[in-house]
Amino acid sequence: MQTATGPLLAVERLRVEFPTRRGTLVAVHDLSFDIAPGEVLGVVGESGAGKSITGAAIIGLIDPPGRIAAGEIRLAGRRIDNLPYAEMRRVRGREIGAIFQDPLTSLNPLYTVGRQLTETIRTHLDMNEAAARDRAIGLLEEVGIPAAARRIDHYPHQFSGGMRQRVVIALALAAKPRLIVADEPTTALDVSIQSQIIELLKRLCREHGTAVMLVTHDMGVIAETADRVAVMYAGRIVEIGPVADVIHRPQHPYTVGLMGSIPSIVDEREHLTQIDGSMPRLTALPTGCAFHPRCPRAFAHCREARPELVAAGPTRAACWLLETPAHAQARAEALS
C-alpha cells in the first residue's frame, strides 16, 4: 500500500492488449512509472509507440475490445484499473482531468460552453446552479478568456482554436483534479498559440499543485514543460529520467538518434542524425530489443534477449550497452 507521501500515480507492469482476428496485439508491454504530486511527466515517442494508449488506460478510456491485460494503476494508493464503469466515471473528471488533441471534438457542439462547464462542476462538486455558473466564469477567466461573463453563453464554434483549447483546459480543471492527462494538447495549434497554451498549463499546475502526464511527440514542448520525461518505443519505456539529462545526455541509442534528428533554430548542421527504417508494426515486433534492427550499435545479444531498464547516471535506460556485470548478475539471481 502507498502511504500519503508516496507517488500520486503509480503504474506497475501495465499491459494493454487488442485482440484481433489475426491474434492479440500488445500495444503496451510491462510499463512501470510513477508521477509525484505536482510533477509534470512528459511521455514522448513516435506514432505507434503506445503513448496515447497509456494515457487512455490511466483515464479508463481504452476502446473495447482493447483491454488492460495485466498490471496495476494506482491513484494515491487506490487501484483504479479494475473499477466498475460508474465508479471510474466519478474518478475521471473528479480526480483525473483529461485534455485531448483536438479541442473541437472534445466539446459538444450543441451545448454552450457554460452548460458544459456547469454540468461538469455539478456532477463532481456539491454546488447549486448559480454557484456552479460563478465557478465556471471564474475558470474561464483563469484560463485567459476575455469577457468570460459574456462568452460563457457562446457555443464552441464561436471560439477560435486556441480559445477552444482554453475552454477544454477549464473543463479539465473544473472539479479540481489532482492529475491531468494531456494527450498532444498543443499539436493542433499554431506556434504562437501553442506557446500561450504551454505557459497557461505550466502556470495553472504550479498554482493548483496539479500533476500532469503530458503525452506529445514534440520534444520542444517537453523540454519547456516537464520535470521528467519517459521515452517510449514499440510499447515500452526505453529511457526515463530528469528532462535535462535525457535531452543533453541521452543514454539509449534510440533517444540519442531522436534528439539528433530534431532540427533546431539555434545550431547549424549540414545533416540531421537519421535513424534508418521506421518503428516496427505491432504485428511483427523484432525479437530481443525491439530497436535492434534500426540500432547502429546493436550486437548479437540484442537480437536474442530484451534488456530491462537499468540505472545509467541520473536516468534509467533499457539497453544492453548499459548493462554492467553487476546488473547482469543481479538479474540472473532474480530470475533463478
Binding site: E46, S47, S160, G162, M163, D190, V191, S192, I193, Q194, S195, Q196, I198, E199, H217, D218, M219, G220, V221, A223, E224, V243, A244, I247, G257, L258, M259, G260, S261, I262, P263, S264, I265, V266, E268, R269, E270, H271, L272, T273, Q274, I275, D276, S278, M279
Partner: protein
C-alpha cells in the same frame, strides 16, 4: 538578374466565400471575399532553397498552388525562366506553357492522400513521364522508374507494390520520385515533412538535401515549422495574413529578426536548448482574414504600433541584409535585437 528562376510580381488571389445567392438576398448580406494572398513580390534564384513560414491561413499554400498553376492569380504576374506562365500577359502558346511547366513539380503534405491507392507504385511514378513523353516505350519507362526509386532510397522491386504497403516516410519518398520523374529543376514542397515523425522527417530532409546537391534543384519549401525551415532554407520569407512581412537570408533572419511578428514567432518556438527558461508569452491571435485590420495587419498584436501603423499598409523595404514590411523598422523606431539578446 540572370540567375533568377521565378519571379512573382504583385500577385494576389482572392476567393469568393459568399453565402448562396438566396441567403444573401434574405439576410441582406453582401458578397464575402477572402484575400488569401494580397500583393506578393517574390523572386527565387536558381539552386537556392527559399523557405516560406507562417501560421495557418497566412496564404503560404496558396502561393505554392499559384506557382504550379493549380490556381490562377486574381492580379499580378508569375514569370518562370523568362516565360510569363500566369497572370496578365501570360503566354497563350499551350505547347510552350506545357514545356515550361514540365520544369516544376510539387510535393504535397499528406503522403496518404497524394498517392492513388489503386495504382501500383511504378504506375504512380511513371504517370508524369507518360504525359510529357508519350513516345517512351514500356521498357524505357520501366528502367527510368527503377532508377528513380533507387535514387530516393527505395528498391526497384518496390514498383510492383501498392502505396498501402509503405510507411509514411516511404510514401513521401515515392512522392519525391514522382516529382523527379520529369527531370524538373524546381520543386514546390508544401509542408513535405509535417505529417511525418521526427526520425523519419530527418531521413526525408537529408534526402532532399542530397538530391538538391546532385541534381542542382531549386526548392520552394513551405512549412509552419521554423526549425525545419532553419535547417533546410538559404533564404526565408515570413508571411502574415496574405503578405510577406520579412524576407532575409536564413542566418540573418534567425540571428537578427527585424519584423515584430518574426520576433514573436521565434520567441514562441519551443526549443530543446531553452529547457526550463520561461518565454515571452505571445499576445493575441491571428485576426479573421475575412475582416483584416486596416493598415499593417499585424498592428493589433504589435507592441510598437502607432497611428501610422493603423492607417497605412507598410511596403517591403530593404533593411540591412533583409527586406521588411514595417513602419517602425523603416522609421528606426524599433531597436534591433542582436543575436545575443535574442538567444537568452
Amino acid at each position: 538578374m540572370t540567375d533568377e528562376l521565378l519571379r512573382m510580381t504583385g500577385v494576389a488571389r482572392s476567393f469568393d466565400v459568399s453565402p448562396p445567392w438566396l441567403n444573401r438576398v434574405l439576410e441582406r448580406r453582401g458578397r464575402v471575399i477572402l484575400k488569401a494572398v494580397d500583393g506578393v513580390d517574390l523572386a527565387i534564384r536558381k539552386g537556392e532553397t527559399l523557405g516560406l513560414v507562417g501560421e495557418s491561413g497566412c496564404g503560404k499554400s496558396t502561393i505554392a498552388r499559384l506557382i504550379v498553376g493549380l490556381y490562377a492569380p486574381t492580379r499580378g504576374t508569375i514569370v518562370y525562366e523568362g516565360v510569363t506562365i500566369a497572370g496578365e500577359g501570360a503566354t497563350t502558346d499551350a505547347a510552350r506553357l506545357r514545356s515550361t511547366r514540365r520544369g516544376m513539380q510539387m510535393i504535397f503534405q499528406d503522403p496518404y492522400a497524394s498517392l492513388n491507392p489503386r495504382w501500383r507504385v511504378a504506375a504512380i511514378v511513371a504517370e508524369p513521364m507518360r504525359l510529357h513523353d508519350p513516345a517512351l516505350t514500356h521498357e524505357e519507362l520501366g528502367a527510368r522508374v527503377a532508377a528513380l526509386l533507387e535514387q530516393v532510397g527505395l528498391a526497384a522491386a518496390d514498383g510492383t507494390k501498392y502505396p498501402h504497403q509503405f510507411s509514411g516516410g516511404q510514401r513521401q519518398r515515392i512522392s519525391i520520385a514522382r516529382a523527379l520523374s520529369t527531370n524538373p529543376s524546381f520543386l514546390v514542397c508544401d509542408e513535405p515533412t509535417s505529417a511525418l515523425d521526427v526520425s523519419v522527417q530527418a531521413q526525408v530532409l537529408n534526402l532532399m538535401r542530397d538530391l538538391q546537391r546532385r541534381l542542382c534543384l531549386t526548392y520552394l519549401f513551405i512549412s509552419h515549422n521554423l526549425a525545419v525551415v532553419h535547417h533546410i532554407a538559404d533564404r526565408v520569407g515570413v508571411m502574415y495574413l496574405g503578405r510577406i512581412v520579412e524576407l532575409a537570408p536564413t542566418r540573418e533572419l534567425f540571428a537578427t529578426p527585424r519584423h515584430p511578428y518574426t520576433r514573436m514567432l521565434l520567441d514562441a518556438v519551443p526549443d530543446l536548448e531553452m529547457s526550463g527558461a520561461s518565454r515571452t508569452a505571445v499576445a493575441g491571435e491571428v485576426p479573421n482574414p475575412l475582416d483584416p485590420p486596416t493598415g499593417c495587419t499585424f498592428h493589433p498584436r504589435c507592441p510598437h504600433a502607432n497611428e501610422r501603423c493603423r492607417e497605412q499598409i507598410p511596403e517591403l523595404l530593404p533593411a540591412g541584409a533583409a527586406m521588411v514590411a514595417c513602419h517602425g523598422i523603416a522609421e528606426g523606431r524599433i531597436p534591433l535585437r542582436t543575436a545575443a539578446a535574442a538567444g537568452t
